[in-house]
Subunit: 249 residues, 2 copies
Amino acid sequence: MDTSDIRIVLVEPSHPGNIGAVARAMKNMGLERLVLVNPRQFPHSEATARASGADDVLASARVVATVQEALAGCGFIVATTSRPRDQYFRVADVRDAAERVLQEARRAPAAVLFGSERAGLSNEQLEAAHLLIQIPASEAYQSLNLAMAVQIVAYELFRARGGVQIDTAPAAGPLADPVEMERLFEHLAQVLEEIDFRDRTQGGTHLMGRLRRLFQRAALDRNEVNILRGILTAIQSRRRRAGDGTERE
Amino acid sequence: MDTSDIRIVLVEPSHPGNIGAVARAMKNMGLERLVLVNPRQFPHSEATARASGADDVLASARVVATVQEALAGCGFIVATTSRPRDQYFRVADVRDAAERVLQEARRAPAAVLFGSERAGLSNEQLEAAHLLIQIPASEAYQSLNLAMAVQIVAYELFRARGGVQIDTAPAAGPLADPVEMERLFEHLAQVLEEIDFRDRTQGGTHLMGRLRRLFQRAALDRNEVNILRGILTAIQSRRRRAGDGTERE
């Protein structure tokens, strides 16, 4: 989906560094539309520094005077709150809410509102929202830094958008098949016997079982099996050469 | 579980502000054991400032000279990587890995390694890990700020620990039951008739259906139903008084 349909709105941010960090957090998670309501200092060198490679997001940030202007043209509005005090609001977990925000953003641009570092959002600002969201945090210290809160919301939106494409089994090639694994284990057992290494406890089966489990757990690819078998072969030929040497002595 | 069983290890962090932000991110997510390997500047006023309410985590941070010292006594070791370049490593999604880290931490302290802002972790350091994890991010800009990466890992660990206890239905009281809702809708229909408000399109059923759906979607509690019925009653008595007045004119 088009991520320009989701606006991140910072209401009266007081630290310019946070604005820059927010821009970076957004770009990292594929968001680009930043709106600043009455920022205390902006533009600012610290914002630029912390935006790092997201200077484009920072440069295209809109600065407006009121929350109403920031939300103009938006449909679904979400407000973040760190405090459970808002007893007449119902609050959703950020993860559960992310999917909803994406759905609503297909109808009209959605906005996520973040309050200022000190005060958060006022009750009046919360009432502009269709949904309040909260980021789960430790009771010992619930207040996340502003940019951190944006990072987590943006992360959950990114995940909900299906942005997770981690190559968990990279270029190392296909896993070794069971036949190759079996040959490896046979080879290993043979070498263990040749070097007189025996399981003291249960006559060998216990030891091989553990070794099998270990290598199965490591989910070896073919290349790795070949490397291990090469090592086993090298051990054998070394022993044979060493054996020759021993006989000569 | 005891969160002191999970260490966050920053390898050669260059910005003291990031160290402080990491301490705060940790405390927000219930982690407390921070280890700094050869930090460029520490202690530092900027670290203290950004730690905010997590000054205790910062104060108890261990500073060591090598990764080996940082990992002493640890069992399971996880390393973070932002680059998919490490082609002979298998990489897990941070969310999938969080549960595993918690399980392993029950056996022996676990560690999560984060590289320096510029270089990340070296291949040698990655090889110390049992598992590499990656935070999903936009291809346009994959490199998260160090403290942001810690925040997301800590957040996923917190969630995996079952730390999510958001009171999604707060003190506002139990939802109205179907009988109360039905009385509300009857009352509303009656008032609509009294004020001669009719659905122009489909003779009334369509309108009431829409209104029903609207109020059902809002999941009203009893108090809210009482408020709405009070309003309806007020409309009726106002009309009666107004009706009396009209008759008198």
